[in-house]
């Protein structure tokens, strides 16, 4: 039997407009990075050697797992509608916030390490892109965590139900976008050379 397709993406339509705009903005940065590299391949490859891939790898795992927790929370709210299910979903959301927090701490350690080595925005084109892209993404993670905290409070208070969970889906979609952007950023900045 064919499933009936939903008319609109999950959550508020407004959040999807924001998501599409963010994707285009980051997309331009990604393509700008790739084409700038063509002009200074040696500088880009040598500068990339100064990055620690382990930071990027662990941060990818953290964001993917955090997103996974949000999917679980959304599924629980949609399928089951009890006080216990709200509590369980809230626990998943708070875990997602925790993983987001560890991501930020690792990023701060990485930034601090670079500044201690005397590397900053104006070191060269590679590090200009590295700092602009990762700091811009960092700000999106911070905003995402504020949204997730709001979702946590609402979920804990039982405001979302199987029928009414649009706010939860909107916040979840934003958080998955943050994850999606990092999925492209990680190989582009840390791996491909």
């Amino acid at each position: 039997m064919n499933k009936i397709k939903q008319l609109y993406p999950p959550g508020d339509f407004g959040v999807w407009i924001i998501i599409y705009i963010e994707l285009i903005t980051f997309g331009l940065f990604f393509v700008g990075f790739a084409f700038s590299r063509r002009k200074e391949i040696e500088i880009f490859n040598n500068s990339q050697l100064l990055l620690d891939q382990r930071f990027g790898f662990v941060n990818t795992i953290l964001l993917l797992t955090s997103s996974y927790f949000i999917v679980k929370a959304t599924q629980i709210i949609k399928r089951i509608n009890t006080k216990e299910s709200c509590h369980l979903a809230a626990n998943y959301i708070v875990s997602a916030i925790g993983f987001g927090g560890i991501f930020l701490i690792i990023k701060i350690i990485e930034f601090a390490g670079k500044y201690q080595q005397g590397i900053n925005l104006s070191t060269n084109t590679f590090f200009m892109f590295y700092f602009v892209l990762t700091m811009f993404h960092f700000m999106h993670v911070v905003l995402g965590m504020i949204i997730l905290f709001n979702l946590y409070v609402n979920t804990k208070n039982g405001l979302y139900t199987g029928e009414q969970h649009r706010g939860l889906e909107s916040g979840a979609s934003y958080w998955h976008m943050v994850d999606l952007l990092w999925i492209v950023l990680f190989p582009l900045i840390y791996i491909i050379r």
Binding site: R38, L64, Y68, Q75, D179, L180, V184, L188
Partner: protein, 84 residues
Amino acid sequence: MKKTTLIWSLLITLTFFAFILGYFKVINNFFVFLLLITTFLKSQLIIDYFMNLREIQLKYRILPTLWIVVVLVLIAIAYYLPII
């Protein structure tokens, strides 16, 4: 719910593959191509199963997919196009 865990495991495995290539510096033209393909797969899994766009009308689902295809194709062009 088991499907979600499977998708998450696949995403972690593909990420580990990318990390190994980068960590041991075994990147060449073929592996760059493979990395771009795996990046597309990971992105599509997030779009379909995490963002849950697989069950909505094609006109909305296609936008993020189109975005990732255009971005990755342009990155590939930047990497593979000979420098004159």
